[in-house]
Symmetry: C2
Subunit: 209 residues, 2 copies
DNA sequence: GGAAGCTCTGAATGATGGTTCACTTCTTTC
DNA sequence: GAAAGAAGTGAACCATCATTCAGAGCTTCC
């Protein structure tokens, strides 16, 4: 048998695949799903269009992989924060801030994950991941209720509102008069989130009427 | 000059155009923008594909018209309620309820207006209309603050959250255990909205912890 | 070096679906 | 009824990509 894949060859191929996914993610973050053609991705990765099909059976499969990786990272980070230190309300506040900050720092990608038009396969993934984001927020809200820190409510709906709010903020810079900074935006967003969940007052601030 | 459009002929053409828009709206509400082909719309209206181009220069132009009509109706209705009778908090509660109720009653259309994947031209319209929805909610929130009924806050962000929340509820039935009814969903949604804006308590309910 | 078997290439292929256009059909006017 | 001109038709056209594939170029092993 005159040829057998050597371990280093296998590694090279895996690296090529990784590189492809990374480049595809960058392209998607840059121009959105709709404008992402196989050729564009291949060019960006420095390979021929046909070579894409050695790593993925179809464009859709590549798209799904891109989505899963990126969305998975966000879910992981958010989960980390929401199940970490502190009481439920503190965790909720930090969770929102982290979720929104990361989204604002990589708007293109966040938009692609949360809202950008995409083919059916990606749409299905998106539903699934939205549910996960929501489930994470909802769990913290439930803990807050159990701890007597939040009023009785449907945590799923509160969670949906929070996800939706971050999404909306992304879709449009909310160019408020005066062009507020990201920090101000984040502060407003977390304050809103706490009100939304019914927390008594924002920690570290006191601007009750 | 052996031919000149008679008034009744003009009316017939306008009616045909209306009919086309109506049918196109139905198709979009049914299958979404992505699955809406010119042929499908033409079939649904009982005309040939080519005839569509006597009323609209392109598929995109028809899509934009469909979107504008439908979204315009929603903005009008919402504006009516939000600038109507009652104090700002009452109006906000009613506005959310009307907005959400209408969306739930015509999910397909609401989804198309708020979230469904669409071509670029429709996407641009959507941004515009989302801004209008938000502006309406934001104005009521500002009035509430001025009236001392709501705490100081960025009304745009609260408004974004409300729009986002309704959208999220649509995207997924939120199949909560026990399969809550639409009415329960609406009640939870308005309660959440009032908390979100910082209103003291939901009118007609008192479930403080 | 050379055979075997792999990866890589990029032009050709094929499917989809918007758009066009030569032609038919209907309306108006005389 | 006949001419003029518009609306309506639907098969053909065309642009856009995802996908394929025959051949070029490597890598491995004897």
């Amino acid at each position: 048998m005159p040829y057998r894949k050597t371990p280093s060859e296998v590694r090279r191929l895996e690296a090529a695949r990784e590189h492809l996914v990374t480049c595809a993610t960058a392209v998607v973050a840059e121009v959105g799903w709709a404008q992402t053609s196989v050729t564009a991705v291949a060019d960006s990765a420095g390979i021929a269009a046909g070579s894409v099909y050695q790593h993925f059976p179809s464009k859709a499969a590549l798209a799904v992989e891109v989505f899963r990786r990126a969305a998975g990272r966000e879910v992981d980070v958010l989960g980390e924060v929401l199940t970490g230190e502190g009481d439920p309300v503190e965790r909720l506040a930090r969770g929102i801030e982290v979720f929104a900050r990361r989204a604002l720092e990589n708007r293109g990608l966040a938009y692609a994950l949360l809202a950008a038009p995409a083919e059916a396969a990606v749409g299905a993934e998106r539903l699934d991941f939205r549910r996960r984001y929501r489930a994470l927020f909802a769990e913290v809200v439930r803990e807050g209720i159990a701890a007597g820190l939040l009023p009785a409510q449907n945590g799923e709906i509160t969670a949906a509102a929070l996800t939706g709010a971050v999404g909306e903020v992304l879709v449009d810079p909310l160019g408020a008069p005066g062009g507020q900074s990201s920090d101000e935006l984040l502060a407003e967003l977390t304050a809103m989130a706490l009100r939304c969940a019914g927390a008594a007052a924002a920690p570290g601030r006191s601007d009750e009427p």
